[in-house]
Symmetry: C2
Subunit: 351 residues, 2 copies
Amino acid sequence: MRRSVVEVKGSITLAHGAGGKESALILKELIFDRVEERLKKVPGGLGIDFPDDGATIPMGDGGFLVVSMDSYTVNPLFFPGGDIGKLAACGSINDVVVMGARPIAMLDSIVVEEGFPLEDLERIVDSFLEVARSERVAVIGGDFKVMPKGQLDGVVVSTVCLGISRRPIVDLPKPGDRIVVTGYLGDHGATILALQQGIELEGGDLKSDVAPLTRTVLPVMEEFGGHVHAARDPTRGGLAMVLNDWAQASETVIVVDGAKVPVRRKVRAYAEMLGIDPLYLASEGAAVLAVSPEVAEEVVKRLRELGCREAAVVGEVRKGTKYSGLVLYRSEVGGLRILEPPTGELVPRIC
Amino acid sequence: MRRSVVEVKGSITLAHGAGGKESALILKELIFDRVEERLKKVPGGLGIDFPDDGATIPMGDGGFLVVSMDSYTVNPLFFPGGDIGKLAACGSINDVVVMGARPIAMLDSIVVEEGFPLEDLERIVDSFLEVARSERVAVIGGDFKVMPKGQLDGVVVSTVCLGISRRPIVDLPKPGDRIVVTGYLGDHGATILALQQGIELEGGDLKSDVAPLTRTVLPVMEEFGGHVHAARDPTRGGLAMVLNDWAQASETVIVVDGAKVPVRRKVRAYAEMLGIDPLYLASEGAAVLAVSPEVAEEVVKRLRELGCREAAVVGEVRKGTKYSGLVLYRSEVGGLRILEPPTGELVPRIC
């Protein structure tokens, strides 16, 4: 009953935390498999029985509470376009939004190293609170701990977001669905990776896209009701991760059209320099939706009206055949190749 | 509007995270004062406008959701009586229980150092899940991150507990109330502190009291309804912290009777050796209640029936006069002295 992960490997590696295959494996063996079935969710809700960005709890009035939790360890703490505080607020809000819920409250817990400059901590907290303010999300609690010097590098921020929804999006893509992305992909991942590799970012060239999705994705989900079958924010592992998760879970084949995926020229250039396919790079202000084919173009139009100027249909979901569970990538010159699920140390401490 | 905490001190000290006066000050300046009033809570609920162990959110059906969040950084990770996994589960469950709510779900986020032994992580997760199982609390989500070697000492566990209540306990003690404790105090704090100081614990002598309060405190709260005016688990800063918080917030004087406070002989001995008053030592399986005088003895009797054999009335709440906001300690020989709020580096990384 109790399986040992020690049989697999003796100690934790960076890959276990990078959000790829190894992360999925260790979560399964370390946690999911050890929780008895009836304790994987609250009755009537969703929990770790259906891995998604958030969990749901039925409220007495027919609605649902949606809860997401994440810990942020991004390095560096400050980067073009944001910092760990903004990232923590947006990341947790977006996890609730892609479940089709309106964020109402956050809690955040800060663990900081002794000797950390108060001025920097103020900047981080102010960034966090600025997002809360602009999105009108209450900050209702949290924790604050200090670790002795040398026992922690900087700051770890853990954030919880609570949202409410009449009908959370907890389905999977269906054959025929179109894959819609809300905008440029990979900006956050490229920025952090370049900084970590010591590549100098020329002024304004490249910055994280970290932003809340409350005013773009949420209205679309509300307006297009049951036509949005699945939604996810492509953070760790990027678009490749989301689509592979979906193809496997829904036993479909997802075909993505390389020519249509919006990636900035600069991100492509940095990705090439770093030897990484931009489809594996994280975004922190974008979403991927699987929508009924009959509304796909309308969804894109509405997203553009709401300010997502690069929103596009980038692929489609097909009935699983012998390729069931795979993501196929159609290159700009027309050939098809398998887009593998991310593995290994994608980008350590990217979020 | 935006006040700078840099004026107070330039960088974070261990005292800022120890749970005493300095923690209260930095939380106020860094977070509470920066959140606009209407975003300090969800309408109809409680948040950081009323600092307590948890926040409340009204549910559509007249009930309330209670949410608590904590990060655990205890050092060492394993100690007599428990480990960081058990501590995280119990700590978050207890924060919900002392609000008068029944815990229904938890989320937990693990941040671990690269190279950490999987076997140890398994033990920690198993301890966490064992508490969830015994208390029938679902584990519905969380996160898992790895920090590169040398950037984190061991493991940080952040935990959220969600509970439901028809009527959360969010009042303050009233003049006349009796202060009831559920059992021996200070076991956890004495154990961790002794380990940190390199004092050898003789076999079975001293161990953490870490345990869930679900089957002892919760029934009492339900049975004695409106007679339990306030409840808290005396973790960081111990009984001294809880009573000082209460005396200040309710503008009363709380008198505690030294002879009646249950502290193990061994804990007293270690505390003396370490030069710390045991009333400042943390418990992780005890609660402090402020109850109407007419039910105080019944509450103690019921707690004892439920297995809290050392439950006792240890003090009372008096109308605030010139001593308003103070806690007075009556020593075993009869003299009264002020029991100051905890300050400074009580016990770093105790929880």
